[in-house]
């Protein structure tokens, strides 16, 4: 049988130990902190999705046949695995954080995952549309060598000039048919743009990044077959909101010669 006075004893203990209930504010702070983490994780996973979307849309599809004629193989080679893993990890953290909210336990794993995926896809699409995904990719490419060299599979493709794929930043425009660039490994190249070269209708300028398909004619000399900007514009370029570096008047690549390409440089300005 239960001892009669147990509750009285406990009350005595509470009094003797001068125990007091924790303040309402301490609980509120904890609740706010959990929701802050939930929102933060949602924003981070949306940013990851924004980058994935940017990478998938701008995956050099026009060059796919030239880079790897096998489509599934090309998709595998260029899959943004780092971002997909990060998105998965953030979604998992989001699930556990949401579960720890006051009423989070009422939702099943499937409900929480579906909800967080839909929310991060929707928000991620907005980030992508405003060019945020592009800015993140570009900034990481520029500032984080591990990302540039190992985590971004697309960079690897364009670091093979001997295979005909060259990525570089314009350092000098010698004349309308000759441009000097520097690749991410700091090798200097002179690129020959001849009448056969296929090129987008773009304004070339010093500091602009290009992706070039062609072949090495001799050491340091690369003959261009196709030229395209390395950084496309985001789909909805709202002026003044986000302006990624090296923007182009982007138009879809057309497999025909462009005779009207305007080259504007600090040292040269001419029309092809």
């Amino acid at each position: 049988m239960p001892e009669e006075k147990i509750s009285e004893k406990i009350l005595e203990q509470i009094k003797n130990r001068s125990l007091k209930p924790k303040t309402k504010w301490s609980f509120r702070l904890r609740t706010y902190f959990i929701w802050f983490l939930v929102i933060l994780l949602l924003v981070l996973s949306s940013l990851a999705f924004g980058v994935i979307l940017y990478m998938l849309v701008n995956n050099d599809w026009s060059f796919q046949q030239r880079i790897n004629p096998n489509l599934p193989g090309y998709i595998l080679d260029t899959l943004p695995i780092f971002w997909l893993l990060l998105l998965g990890f953030l979604t998992l953290l989001l699930y556990f954080e949401f579960k720890s909210t006051k009423k989070g336990y009422r939702f099943t794993l499937a409900h929480i995952l579906l909800g967080s995926v839909i929310a991060s896809f929707a928000l991620g699409f907005i980030f992508y549309s405003f060019g945020v995904g592009q800015v993140i990719d570009e900034e990481l490419n520029e500032r984080v060598p591990i990302y540039r060299n190992f985590l971004n599979p697309r960079n690897q493709i364009w670091l093979q000039p001997e295979e005909g794929f060259l990525l570089g930043e314009i350092t000098k425009i010698v004349d309308p048919t000759m441009v000097e660039i520097i690749d991410p490994l700091n090798n200097e190249w002179v690129v020959i743009v001849n009448e056969e070269s296929q090129m987008m209708p773009i304004n070339l300028d010093i500091g602009m990044k290009l992706k070039i398909i062609g072949e090495i004619v001799e050491e340091g000399l690369f003959e261009a077959e196709m030229i395209m900007p390395a950084i496309p514009n985001p789909p909805f370029n709202f002026k003044g909101i986000i302006k990624p570096k090296g923007q182009f008047n982007y138009k879809y690549f057309q497999k025909k010669n462009y005779g009207g390409c305007v080259i504007i440089g600090r040292e040269a300005s001419a029309q092809i």
Binding site: P2, I6, S7, Q13, I14, K24
Partner: protein, 191 residues
């Protein structure tokens, strides 16, 4: 005193926050229920259950401002009790104990109708068997079975106490019933 006995749990929570003496009425209201609940979901002795109850009540008092009136107070206090039993599980589970609780008549009726036990089964024997079988069940099945049939909680309350979605509670309960039924049949064969 009588005036306090008529007050709802929510009112007593409010009064306890104003004056800690009033917390006594809340403790008294749940004292027996919680002691027997602890005994049902763990294999501890009565003395250990009392020690656990003391820790539970101190925790409840400490967290009184965290109680959300949108939740039944009984669900909230059972949740704290359940969590406290889990956190003391390692410390207490090693010692096999006798069973210190009884199955009430209405709980027995509920269980009999649910598990479809044959009519000729002796009721006293069945009562003893049920207690033995409950002790041998996996913790997750024992938890839902005890709350549903011995504590008479509905799915929503079980969901709030165990912090699991209602669908998960339903699945666990179905599985628990099936296992329980099998074990009861096994016991009957032995007898």
């Amino acid at each position: 005193m009588n005036n306090f006995l008529e007050k709802s749990d929510q009112e007593l929570v409010k009064l306890s926050l104003e004056n800690q003496e009033n917390f006594l009425y809340l403790m008294k209201r749940y004292e027996k229920k919680l002691i027997y609940y602890i005994l049902k979901i763990s294999n501890v002795s009565y003395e250990d259950a009392e020690d656990l109850l003391q820790e539970i009540y101190i925790k409840v008092y400490h967290n009184l401002n965290d109680y959300d009136p949108g939740l039944k107070f009984s669900s909230w206090i059972y949740r704290i009790a359940h969590n406290q039993v889990i956190s003391n599980y390692r410390k207490l589970k090693v010692r096999p104990q006798s069973v210190f609780w009884e199955i009430e008549d209405h709980a027995l009726k509920n269980l009999i109708s649910e598990i479809d036990v044959q009519e000729e089964t002796d009721e006293n024997l069945l009562r003893e068997n049920i207690k033995k079988v409950i002790k041998t069940l996996d913790k997750k099945y024992r938890d839902v079975l005890v709350l549903r049939y011995l504590e008479d909680k509905d799915y929503k309350e079980i969901s709030d106490i165990l912090r699991k979605p209602m669908g998960t509670v339903a699945t666990l309960l179905n599985k628990a019933k099936a296992i329980f039924k099998d074990k009861i049949k096994e016991q009957k064969i032995k007898l």
